[in-house]
């Protein structure tokens, strides 16, 4: 154990968290990688101006070269610009779906954990129900039912985006809810929560100031795993023809398109695969680092 460092009196909580985060090597590494990827997909399409859908049969299935850094697909489309463009959607879907899963899961878990009795029983029954539903057929049904009406309201691309995010997030909150509930059940009986109650803290204050911050560690880690799952779930949907239209090259879509050419053009699958892998891994490390940085008990 390192002796506790006496901090300067001006260090604020956020500064402290940042200081502790920086000591977490892998997390910092993950943050850098993720920033590079995000910056790439955000500004990349302006710098690399090759159109994503320019078909050139003379350049079919070309391996990486200076002209096409990631090679070309079976229609001779430049994979690098497709990756840059599709990455926006993949990452946005992942982050948005994770946010929905975490927010919904935390709210439901918190309500269940705090209320006990009938409300708790009902919410856990609902969670189990969602866990046991056959997800894929239901996804298909929901998408068939709502795709067209949503498209009319907010336009094709945004409509599909909203629907996919809601559907993926809406089917991934259950583990978070169970996790949060379990944490709440144990934390609410802790003496420091009882002390807050004895001081006259309202229920909301007990939850917001004492229970939730102490429950969040595992939730953050679960959330980062959800990002990965959401990116992959989106590609499944795209594969089934239910996600984004086939001409929008999300990473998952490109990966699935590549599967028939694995033996002749492995690079086609390698690049989207590596990008998904790197994104997911770096988000995971960031989650690890955040969890540790937010926990003052850890000596970092």
């Amino acid at each position: 154990m390192v002796a506790p460092v006496r901090r300067a009196a001006t260090v604020s909580l956020t500064q402290d968290i940042w200081r502790r985060f920086k000591r977490h090597r892998l997390a910092l590494f993950g943050a850098v990688i993720l920033l590079v990827i995000i910056a790439g997909v955000a500004i990349g399409p302006w710098l690399w101006t090759v159109p994503i859908n320019e078909i050139d049969f003379n350049a079919r299935l070309k391996p990486p070269s200076w002209q096409h850094p990631f090679g070309t697909d079976d229609l001779g489309q430049d994979l690098f610009s497709r990756m840059l463009y599709g990455g926006r959607i993949s990452i946005a879907v992942g982050l948005a779906a994770m946010t929905i899963a975490i927010v919904v899961g935390t709210i439901i878990g918190a309500i269940a954990g705090m209320s006990r009795g009938l409300v708790d029983t009902f919410l856990m029954w609902l969670t189990d129900l969602f866990l046991s539903l056959p997800q894929l057929p239901l996804l298909l049904l929901i998408i068939y039912l709502f795709r067209d009406s949503l498209k009319k309201i907010v336009g094709a691309e945004t409509g599909v985006f909203i629907m996919i995010v809601v559907v993926i997030g809406g089917f991934r909150w259950m583990p978070v809810a169970r996790l949060v509930r379990a944490q709440f059940l144990s934390l609410r009986e802790k003496e420091f929560v009882e002390a807050a109650r004895a001081l006259g803290a309202s229920r909301l204050r007990q939850v917001a100031r004492h229970i939730l911050p102490n429950a969040l560690g595992p939730v953050i880690v679960a959330g980062t795993i959800d990002v990965a799952a959401a990116i992959i779930a989106e590609s499944t949907l795209s594969f089934l023809g239910l996600g984004f239209p086939p001409d929008i090259p999300t990473w998952g879509r490109v990966l699935f398109d590549a599967k028939d050419y694995l033996d002749t053009s492995p690079y086609w699958a390698l690049f989207p695969g590596t990008l998904i892998f790197l994104t997911v891994l770096s988000i995971n490390y960031i989650g690890d680092g955040l969890r540790d940085a937010l926990d003052p008990r850890r000596v970092l």
């Binding site: 002390a195 001081l199 100031r209």
Partner: protein, 340 residues
């Protein structure tokens, strides 16, 4: 001598700060397929006592005898099943949420475990200052800070501890933080729930001395819960002994230690080690365990373990009666001694 149960302490009765009357807490035991209530744990089973302003009442008993539950019921951290808790002429049990919140400024609690009782994610300043925020006790940021520093210094900590986290402190220091938190609202009554049981003996003395100093300084009243009789003897004016959810004896501290009038108290006292090598006292060994509070024994709750058990103890519950001035006990032996 009066034997009326309603008013056990006439000498103190003019204006007791706290008056607990027939307090009962039963925890339902659920079992079976449909979670039916199959019985109840009688954690607190009709406890009555009074607490004068500035007094310290020690509450002792074995683990599981209901002493902590009693303390928490008084603060309504646990909702009592029945009974009354009168604090300054108001029955706490019937109070609504807002009135109860206001009452938190008069009654506080210090916990047993200094590790579990401080939020690990809050700085010491935030922990001590929380009550100030909840009850809007300070107007400005500077006042807030000054008050926290004042509280920390009152309990023997330093101003620069403010930004540290609980895990950076030792057990004794953490207990001081807990005390500072309780003091923040300037309470009148503090329930000390085994505040030194988790500490080293040397630290125990420090914390007890601190509690005594604070009592003098702020005119505090303590309900001091403990299972260690020697600790209680030092700090208490009066001591109440609990067994299986009931008070079996209550007396001024000195008297209880010299002339106990209940066999259970005698047995407890005989178990206190004498700090003198070679000196031994005759141990009264209690056989068996504390009976299950779901199904307490008939008659006197103590009869299965009592070394002086008589036939009537098995059927007849002894009345809680005064054996001498301010000394009350619930034992049939006191009847045969010609006392009423």
């Amino acid at each position: 001598m009066s034997t009326a149960r309603r008013d056990p302490f006439p000498a103190l009765a003019d204006q007791p700060l706290l008056r607990v009357n027939e307090l009962v807490k039963h925890f339902p035991v659920k079992g079976g397929l449909f979670g039916r209530t199959s019985g109840s744990v009688r954690a607190v089973d009709g406890v009555s006592f009074e607490l004068a302003k500035g007094e310290t009442l020690g509450l002792v008993g074995e683990s599981g005898c209901g002493k902590s539950t009693t303390g928490r019921c008084i603060l309504r951290l646990i909702e009592p099943t029945s009974g009354e808790v009168w604090f300054e002429g108001r029955n706490v049990v019937g109070l609504g949420r807002e009135a109860m919140r206001a009452l938190c400024r008069d009654m506080q609690i210090i916990f047993q475990d200094p590790y579990a009782s401080l939020d690990p994610r809050m700085t010491v300043g935030a922990i001590v200052g929380e009550a100030l925020v909840i009850h809007n006790l300070t107007k400005t940021e500077t006042q807030y800070r000054e008050r926290i520093v004042e509280l920390l210094e009152t309990v023997g900590l330093h101003a620069d501890h403010l930004r540290r986290y609980p895990h950076e402190f030792s057990g004794g220091q953490r207990q001081r933080i807990g005390i500072a938190r309780a003091l923040a609202v300037s309470p009148k009554l503090i329930v000390c729930d085994e505040p030194v049981s988790a500490l080293d003996v040397s630290i125990q003395a420090q914390v007890i001395n601190l509690l005594e100093d604070l009592q003098q300084k702020f005119d505090l009243t303590y309900l001091f819960i403990a299972h260690d009789l020697s600790v209680v003897e030092h700090i208490s004016d009066r001591v109440a002994v609990m067994y299986l959810g009931r008070i079996v004896e209550i007396a001024p501290a000195r008297e209880l230690y010299t002339t106990p009038r209940h066999p259970y108290t005698e047995a407890l006292l005989s178990a206190v080690p004498i700090p003198e090598p070679g000196l031994k006292r005759t141990r009264i060994r209690l056989v068996g365990d504390v009976p299950n509070p779901i199904n307490p024994p008939s008659g006197c709750h103590f009869h299965p373990r009592c070394p002086k058990v008589m036939e009537r103890c098995k059927t007849e519950s002894p009345a809680f009666r005064q054996v001498s001035g301010g000394h009350w006990a619930a034992c049939h032996l006191n009847d045969s001694a010609g006392l009423t």
